[in-house]
């Protein structure tokens, strides 16, 4: 029995090797200072050199730490291998090595398709990645459509990992695809880890597969785990929901059907420049065409993948992605995204707003938009006024006047007549819009025209924007002319004059009636203007 020369000072446990003692000491959660042993305490330790001059450990810098270690090393490296395993052909020089091996020999085996046997799982996995035999097999099958290294790597590790139990195949993930059956867990257990990613039908990524194979160094990754997981977790509700959309009778169209259906409602010709019903029809049929014919390789591929396998690898995930794809297409074709709408709103204001100093809500939107993706714009200038508009360098900081804050889109605050006209015009324009499915552009422009027209009708000059004297009557006419929203927002006490006319007050009262929402909108804006001022807040009752 060798002496336990190394003693833990905390609990007095003894160890034969110093490294074991260190490991043990870690568990005591020693504070940092005590962790170090001072130089004075430790005597110079004996190290051992291998007597064999050609050995690496013959040098002082590569000396080994304890006697038994060096003895074993010498036997292993420079000694004769006298101990032989009975099950396999391995020979050992050190008896303890031999004993350890024979305990595990044959208990856990991984066999690659090429016939190599592995006892360690990790070496098995790494080998399979590069095994030539597998490369040939996979070259026969079209590789899957996953584009990244990581996805291959990981979906692999995730998938067959599930399948393999001790290298014995389980066909847990077997699916319709013969490939997957084979790969997911053949009885040889050597299915290509990465090939299970090859659901039948796919098109592309030969390149990625090859890329992958060419990479010399695979560090394990977690990327594809998530992809595979999606399949397992089955974003199926989504998938099924789509399947159940009654609009599509075509089973292949399941994914796109729902989307198409939902979008039919909006399929009234969203393209601003389209002006005929024909366009609508074309759009619609295009949608359908895409759905039914599975036009395009991607779609075809996706649908095939949908059909193919349900377990294991990519299919579920890509099925949802295929429907995603179609959904996306349909949605994009028929309907403007919210982001696009916001951008459009931001731009629209600029076209109708003559004064470059104006800080309309459109410009707000623009500056917010510009600040968002492009600049890391600090909106938190707490006391500075130009937080919004400073995103756009060309704008001067809006002056504090809030008078024009009554940025009424639709109405002339002062004259009822004017507003009525405006209101009627609005109604007409919308009605026109109703009648005519397609002329969005026309409608919007008519709105603008109308507003511009009213603009001119205004007695007061059109200068509510920013500049100096606030003129409550002058309201920015553009669609999104919320007026000096920025100014108001900053909470700066604008020196807006409040031209709160009697009209406005009455209108405020009227605003509460639901008789005319547009009217109230108008009045609303009137009171908005008045509120911007410091003095009276007539609508604050």
């Amino acid at each position: 029995m060798a002496t336990n020369r190394f003693i833990c000072e905390v609990c007095n446990k003894g160890f034969q090797r110093e490294q074991n003692l260190q490991l043990h000491r870690r568990g005591h959660n020693l504070p940092w200072k005590l962790k170090q042993k001072s130089k004075t305490e430790i005597p110079k330790r004996k190290v051992y050199l291998c007597p064999e001059p050609t050995c690496v450990h013959h040098e002082a810098s590569r000396a080994l730490g304890d006697l038994t270690g060096i003895k074993k090393h010498y036997s292993r490296k420079h000694g004769e291998k006298k101990w032989k395993c009975d099950k396999c052909a391995k020979r050992y020089a050190v008896q303890s090595d031999w004993k350890a091996h024979s305990k595990t020999c044959g208990t856990r085996e991984y066999r690659c398709d090429c016939g190599t046997l592995f006892s360690r799982r990790d070496s098995f996995i790494t080998h399979r990645a590069f095994c030539d035999a597998l490369a040939q097999e996979s070259a026969r099958n079209p590789p899957p459509s996953l584009s990244s290294l990581g996805s291959h790597l990981f979906a692999g590790a995730g998938g067959p990992a599930n399948n393999m139990t001790l290298g014995i195949s389980s066909t847990a993930h077997s699916s319709a695809a013969a490939d997957i059956l084979r790969l997911g867990g053949s009885t040889t257990g050597g299915a290509g880890q990465f090939d299970h990613l090859l659901p039948p039908s796919t098109t592309t990524t030969t390149t990625s597969q090859q890329q992958f194979r060419n990479q010399p160094h695979l560090s394990p990754s977690s990327a594809a785990f998530f992809m595979q997981q999606d399949q397992n977790n089955s974003y199926q509700p989504f998938h099924h929901t789509l399947m159940q959309q009654q609009f599509s009778s075509d089973p292949n169209n399941a994914a796109g059907g729902g989307a198409a259906a939902a979008n039919q409602l909006f399929n009234l010709g969203f393209f601003p420049n389209s002006s005929t019903n024909n366009n609508n029809a074309t759009l619609f049929t295009n949608n359908n065409n895409n759905n039914h014919s599975g036009g395009g390789d991607d779609q075809h591929h996706h649908q095939m993948m949908m059909g193919s396998s349900t377990g294991g690898s990519v299919p579920l995930f890509s099925s949802s992605s295929s429907s995603v794809h179609q959904q996306q297409m349909n949605n994009m074709v028929a309907h403007m995204s919210a982001t696009a709408l916001l951008q459009k709103a931001a731009q629209m204001g600029s076209t109708t707003n003559s004064n470059p100093n104006a800080t309309t809500s459109a410009s707000l939107l623009r500056s917010a938009f510009a600040a968002g993706p492009n600049h890391n714009h600090n909106h938190n200038n707490q006391k500075s006024s130009s937080s919004q508009s400073s995103g756009e360098k060309q704008q001067h900081p809006p002056p504090p006047s809030l008078g024009s804050f009554g940025g009424s889109f639709f109405g002339d605050v002062d004259t009822n007549n004017g507003s009525n006209n405006l209101h009627d015009l609005m109604m007409n324009s919308f009605a026109a819009a109703a009648g005519n499915n397609n002329n969005i552009n026309n409608n919007s422009s008519s709105m603008f025209d109308m507003e511009e027209g009213n603009h001119h009708n205004q007695s007061s000059g059109n200068n509510n924007n920013g500049g100096g004297s606030s003129n409550n009557k002058k309201l920015t006419r553009d669609f999104l002319g919320v007026g000096h929203v920025a100014a108001a927002v900053r909470g700066i006490a604008g020196t807006a004059t409040s031209n709160i006319s009697q009209n406005q007050q009455q209108q405020v009262g009227a605003a509460l009636e639901r008789s005319s929402s547009l009217d109230s909108e108008r009045n609303n804006n009137n009171s908005m203007g008045s509120h911007s001022s410091f003095g009276g807040n007539p609508s604050f009752q």
């Binding site: 590790a157 919210a338 982001t339 889109f409």
Partner: protein
């Protein structure tokens, strides 16, 4: 409350044409109305806001198109903000609201499923951890919000494939609900057994937010390599308690008082956002600093932070609302492009996750407003000040993230690198960022 649009009963006489509004026009109209209404609310013109809200409700709908949905949630938030001016009414309206934690967890996992953001974040996080832990024998990972077992299952699998064999892994998971942690523990232990990795899971239940976390409980041992993963957990620490809500919108609020309130607000948030010296008395700064200091004190070998990359912490309502409009428009667009409109899960995520966030951003102030998202560069600055050094993300990590995004199938998702951090965008709008840090000295 947003009604289905168009609602025939409401549109009896006045505006039949509203029914005919095309989606695009309606969307533009909604934007305009929203901004008007927000303006009114910001300036305290409650009557006008009331009118605007009414108009929007005729057009918005939680089950309509993207803009309709967004408008619905934003107007709900604005209405909530208005109601807060009557604290009694507000309290009464919310008196019977029951928070079901399991619902929240469910919504969170729906968010995980339906968007690639968390997955990409996990992938990048795991890769950063893997790289930092190369050669380590004892690895301890602290997950500040342990809700998705898949993240750590992936890490386990990756570790098991390591060339030098897996390390001894210990994961400390923090969450508000015991059940979530139990489930996670079960799954992780099972996976680790299968992979033959020495593994230990320590659950920590913390109620009421991470600020109540006791660092002692983390039991970080000397000699082990520590990794911290924080996914969307840092921004609530920016919530300051300086401005109690009651001052928010006084009923008869004179404009002066209102402005005063906003000024205080702006002062407060500004001080927190412009990073004054660490010893600043501002409480919001204090909490954030305190927590980052706690993390720094643990001496992690790597800390991976995932946060939203949007400026929703502006001083004033309009700033926040505008930014939020863009951000949530992007998020709703994501859903629109990937999930059918009739999906209940989508409605749930929109309502219970995004709707609540929007409500928080728009209607709450001071300590209540937890959703203080900020831009990446602010986070970078803040974390640097706390004593960390940006490790940057490896090429391979970025590659994996991008690969995952591509395989997601929807090409609106993009990922780019900025200052050594990964930023996940929808079209051009950055939404989430992932960055990896280590302790300085």
């Amino acid at each position: 409350m947003a009604q289905l649009s168009p609602n025939p009963s409401n549109l009896g006489s006045p505006y039949p044409y509203l029914r005919e509004l095309k989606s695009e026009e309606r969307g533009l109209y909604l934007i305009h109305l929203l901004l008007t209404c927000a303006n009114h609310v910001a300036t305290g013109s409650l009557e006008s806001a009331e009118v605007a809200l009414g108009q929007i409700s005729q057009l918005s709908a939680p089950d309509g198109d993207t803009m309709q949905r967004i408008a619905a949630y934003f107007t709900e938030a604005l209405a909530e903000r208005i109601i807060k001016a009557w604290p009694g009414v507000h309290r009464a309206l919310n008196a019977t609201k029951i928070k079901i934690p399991s619902e929240e967890t469910m919504v969170r996992s729906l968010f995980y499923e339906m968007f690639p953001f968390l997955k990409v974040a996990f992938v990048v996080t795991n890769q950063a951890i893997l790289e930092a832990m190369e050669g380590e024998k004892m690895v301890h990972v602290i997950d500040l919000n342990a809700s998705e077992p898949s993240q750590w299952i992936a890490l386990l699998q990756a570790l098991s494939g390591r060339a030098e064999g897996p390390p001894h892994l210990r994961i400390t998971g923090i969450h508000q609900q015991r059940e979530v942690l139990d489930r996670m523990s079960h799954k992780l232990v099972e996976e680790a057994e299968r992979l033959d990795i020495p593994f230990q899971f320590n659950p920590i239940v913390v109620s009421g937010g991470l600020e109540n976390l006791d660092p002692e409980k983390l039991r970080v041992k000397t000699g082990e390599a520590l990794a911290i993963s924080s996914v969307l957990q840092l921004h609530p620490f920016l919530a300051s308690h300086k401005n109690p809500n009651s001052r928010l919108l006084q009923r008869q609020g004179t404009l002066g008082e209102l402005l005063l309130d906003q000024k205080d607000n702006s002062f407060d948030s500004a001080s927190s956002s412009s990073s004054p010296p660490i010893g600043s008395p501002s409480s919001s700064q204090g909490k954030m600093d305190w927590f980052l200091n706690v993390l720094w004190g643990l001496s992690p070998k790597v800390m991976v932070v995932t946060e939203q990359d949007s400026n929703h912490n502006g001083a004033t309502l309009m700033e926040r609302l505008l930014e939020a409009l863009y951000s949530y428009a992007a998020l709703f667009d994501c859903l629109e492009s990937t999930v059918p409109r009739s999906s209940i899960e989508r409605l749930k995520v929109e309502k219970m996750m995004f709707g609540e966030e929007i409500k928080n951003i728009v209607a709450c102030e001071g300590g209540e407003r937890k959703e203080r998202h900020e831009k990446l560069e602010k986070w970078i600055h803040r974390i640097e000040m706390a004593g960390f050094v940006n490790l940057g993300l490896s090429y391979y990590g970025m590659l994996q993230g991008k690969g995952l995004l591509e395989s997601y199938g929807c090409d609106g998702y993009r990922m780019k690198e900025e200052n050594g951090c990964a930023v996940i965008c929808w079209q051009d709008r950055p939404l989430y960022s992932v960055s990896s840090w280590r302790c300085r000295k």
